[in-house]
């Protein structure tokens, strides 16, 4: 006998655990007080409220998504209502158009250019107000970041800097070319959790987690 509970809405956010900044997102979700899990096998994606595709190398991630047939699993879960947030490499995977390359998931109408700033010596931090996300300035970390150079009409631009777009969203997709998971800021994670229909802990309103340290990710990446 199968029980169908009316209130059984998906309540877990998955973090794609193939390569990249996985532990950093897990740590932020934990601080936010929402349920989370690592996902890497097709069966892991059933009943996720949301999926975070972390930063890493997009060429590596897209290859792994294709060869292990996870790409179609993600597309199917998305059709059933799973929201997706891509940070940095994740944003590249979600884009409709990637300059000079074949797009991967093609789920948001943006044009993105890999490695838009240069080498690691051009990586930088700054901060900006993102009114839709937080009343306080949000710290921004760009690491060999891509640039979103164009967005379709149904895409809502959350942050524009100089000649590029740094954060944008559609109804089901959120993209940021910077890394909130590499700062003490929980605002973007909170914003995504709410987009997924979840209720983050009441005390997560402050943009910056005062207890966060740059080594906080290590508690999710212990030695064997």
């Amino acid at each position: 006998m199968t029980l169908h509970l009316v209130s059984d809405k998906p309540s877990v956010i998955g973090v794609l655990d193939l390569q990249g900044g996985v532990h950093e997102h897990l740590e932020h979700l934990e601080q936010l007080g929402v349920s989370y899990k690592r996902v890497k096998h097709p069966s892991d994606f059933a009943d996720l409220a949301g999926l975070i595709i972390p930063g890493g190398e997009s060429s590596c991630l897209s290859r792994l998504l294709n060869i292990f047939e996870i790409k179609n699993v993600i597309l199917e879960a998305h059709r059933k209502g799973m929201k997706i947030w891509g940070t940095c490499a994740g944003a590249i995977l979600l884009a409709r158009e990637v300059v000079g390359e074949t797009p991967c998931l093609d789920l948001i109408d943006i044009k993105i250019e890999r490695n838009g700033f240069g080498s690691q010596l051009d990586s930088f931090v700054s901060e900006a107000l993102i009114p839709a996300v937080s009343a306080q300035p949000v710290p921004l970390t760009f690491i060999r970041a891509p640039k979103i150079t164009d967005a379709g009409r149904e895409v809502n631009i959350l942050l524009r800097i100089d000649d590029y777009i740094a954060a944008a969203e559609s109804e089901n997709i959120l993209v940021t070319v910077f890394h909130p998971e590499l700062t003490g800021c929980l605002a973007l994670h909170r914003y995504f959790a709410i987009k997924c229909g979840l209720k983050p802990a009441a005390n997560s309103h402050n943009c910056i987690d005062p207890l966060w340290k740059s080594s906080s990710w290590t508690k999710h990446a212990g030695i064997a």
Binding site: L18, G21, E57, S59, G118, Q120, V125, R144, H179, I223
Partner: protein
């Protein structure tokens, strides 16, 4: 390097976690590595197996060759400087690559001092055989650590030894009463503040990859299960009979290191691995891991 720049450099390595960094000697190999899913390439003129065979002094590669590789890929590019050769490092920083490996694979330029990495904006990765060596490099400004293993041998035994040694020492430190930390730090040549940090975190504060002898998908998965954050494959790919499928297979096995079925699939039909070297057959003065301290 100010604190913020150092943090950014540690964070780039964090983005490489779970990935494979491959040695490449030309544009064609770099393209094969990128297409196979490498998270970065190490650009060098000769892979360690050839450096070992050729003998003589091994120096930084021709910057023109590194520049050509940098131009041909979008993933991060690393290159090696000799231990202590801070001018080779200055040249590589001027070339604006993404990471410098201060490497024992090249002939050391200084037997007393490693490079003062705090003077640079570019990040450094350094080799280590144990916790003390790793933390001395971090104290000098390294933003990423790798096991030394024994490069160019296709023999994973030294990488395993170094990873197990580091983990054992981290566990000891984590469980030790605080009054024993001073002595442990002294005996292992560890800066006291860093010893306290390891005790608090229960692991290295930066990303730690395995390197030196990884030749098969199983080797990569073994190192991942032993607790490293990713792997370097030097001679193991382009000294094998069929490099492209082997490169792809090692990427798969690294991502799914704890899934024997996936590692099995990755291990099928790859052709001959690189020829291996028994460590005890190597003359003692040709053991690369002993370079640096």
């Amino acid at each position: 390097m100010d604190a913020k720049r150092y943090e950014l450099n540690v964070q780039l390595a964090q983005m490489l976690k779970g990935g494979v960094i491959m040695d490449v000697t030309n544009v064609e190999q770099a393209t094969i590595a990128e297409e196979a899913g490498a998270v970065a390439v190490m650009a060098l003129e000769r892979v360690p197996a050839d450096i070992r065979k050729d003998g003589g002094v091994a120096r930084m590669s021709d910057p023109a060759m590194i520049a050509a590789i940098k131009k041909s890929v979008t993933i991060p590019v690393m290159a090696k400087a000799r231990i202590g050769h801070f001018v080779e490092a200055q040249i590589l920083e001027a070339l604006r690559i993404d990471y410098i490996d201060e490497s024992e694979v090249l002939t050391p330029a200084d037997e007393e001092c490693h490079i003062d990495k705090t003077k640079f904006s570019i990040p450094f990765v350094c080799g280590a055989r144990n916790l003390g060596e790793a933390l001395r490099r971090i104290a000098e400004g390294a933003a990423m650590i790798r096991t030394k293993g024994e490069a160019g041998t296709g023999n994973v035994v030294e990488a395993v030894r170094h990873m197990r040694t580091m983990n054992r020492e981290i566990r000891q430190l984590a469980q030790m009463p605080i009054e024993e930390v001073t002595g442990f730090a002294k005996n292992n040549g560890i800066p006291y503040e860093l010893a306290l940090k390891i005790k608090e975190l229960g692991r290295l504060p930066v990303v730690n990859f395995a390197a030196g002898g990884i030749a098969t998908p199983a080797d990569a998965a073994l190192m991942m299960q032993l607790g490293c954050d990713g792997v370097f494959v030097g001679s193991g790919i382009f000294k094998a009979a069929d490099p492209a499928p082997r490169a792809r297979a090692i990427v798969k096995a690294t991502a799914y290191f704890n899934d024997p079925q996936k590692v099995l699939e990755a291990s099928m039909g790859l052709g001959e691995a690189m020829p291996g070297l028994e460590i005890s057959q190597i003359p003692p003065d040709q053991i690369l891991a002993k370079r640096g301290w």
